[in-house]
Symmetry: C2
């Protein structure tokens, strides 16, 4: 804003005192960030997976037309949406392990770095689609459990299965975080590819 085109005599004197060549352009090591994000993705998917798998609760429920109360169990595999959620997170967890190792391999031997970046984007995009859809499906079903739907007569189940719902309420936001991580990973890979064009 306040720059002038006049040469600064002080700066000129300084450069004469220390005639160092300009430093080479600093190259950020994107693969180090990549590995960090992938380790974080592994942690997120594993946490969401464990929290969801351990969401089990047994409560006494009244049978209509009878005073007897029977124990009724709530488990994630009682809903197809939650089964898909667990399957998608398992795939993403396994994928994060494989790609972390691959990224470490690229750091050790960066010959095929550009090709790896291309493959990373292709697979990361597929993973993002799977994880985002699974998070949406689980979230949609969990919301019915929390609030019910008076139009269709679907009752809330969370007032009874409180512990089960707390597990869901922790697992789904973590899966959302994993989706955000995948978006960041794709952007990082594409930015790396883009920066290589200018080199």
């Amino acid at each position: 804003m306040a720059s002038t085109d006049k040469p600064d005599p002080e700066a000129a004197t300084k450069s004469e005192v220390s005639p160092l060549p300009p430093p080479p352009p600093k190259r950020v090591d994107y693969f180090a960030i990549d590995v960090g994000l992938r380790v974080l993705l592994f942690a997120a998917t594993l946490t969401a997976l464990v929290v969801m798998s351990t969401a089990k609760q047994t409560e006494l429920a009244s049978v209509p037309g009878s005073p007897v109360r029977v124990p009724v169990k709530a488990k994630f595999n009682h809903s197809p949406a939650f089964i898909y959620f667990v399957a998608a997170l398992s795939v993403a967890c396994l994928y994060s392990i494989i790609t972390t190792l691959a990224s470490l391999g690229v750091i050790a031997k960066p010959t095929y770095a550009t090709t790896f970046l291309l493959y990373y984007v292709f697979w990361d995009v597929l993973m993002l689609g799977i994880v985002a859809a699974a998070t949406g499906a689980a979230g949609g079903v969990a919301y019915i459990g929390l609030r019910g739907n008076k139009h269709t007569g679907w009752v809330k189940v969370c007032p009874v299965y409180d512990k089960f719902c707390r597990h869901l309420g922790s697992s789904i936001p973590i899966a959302l975080f994993a989706s955000v991580l995948l978006v960041l990973l794709i952007m990082l890979s594409v930015f790396s590819l883009h920066s290589r064009i200018r080199e």
Copy 2:
């Protein structure tokens, strides 16, 4: 496989007869494919949006403890998942119009093509996340409507609201197709970026 290093006398004669320079490497115009896919994305999101918005059905439902039957309406805005679905598709539809025009602009004046490719991937990835999550949420809720859930006591509604469910069953696969188109668009942009590195 069976190539030899010896010069072929016939080929040498031919090249003397027609000493044409080798043709320049054929460059596929990726932006033309890009525009085509974006027009298809616009068509898919608009169709899914119209089919979902017009899903209205009124049926007579019996009131418990009374012989009177009252008309009960089914609309997409009776479920938060379907409201999110319509909102996400609206955003994707608007986005497809804007980016189609931008792609046509890049074809007319390809100065900033590389920068546009970078921005396209960033925004396409965000759109993919939104549309995939919306498709998952709507699909998860629609599946409960179709099959019910005996564990939670949620009843099927599709045997009564058959026309409404047919609309859902058309709209959700079209939205899934839109997600696949977004995946293809991202891959195309990244492939274009990658091909520019070798130039």
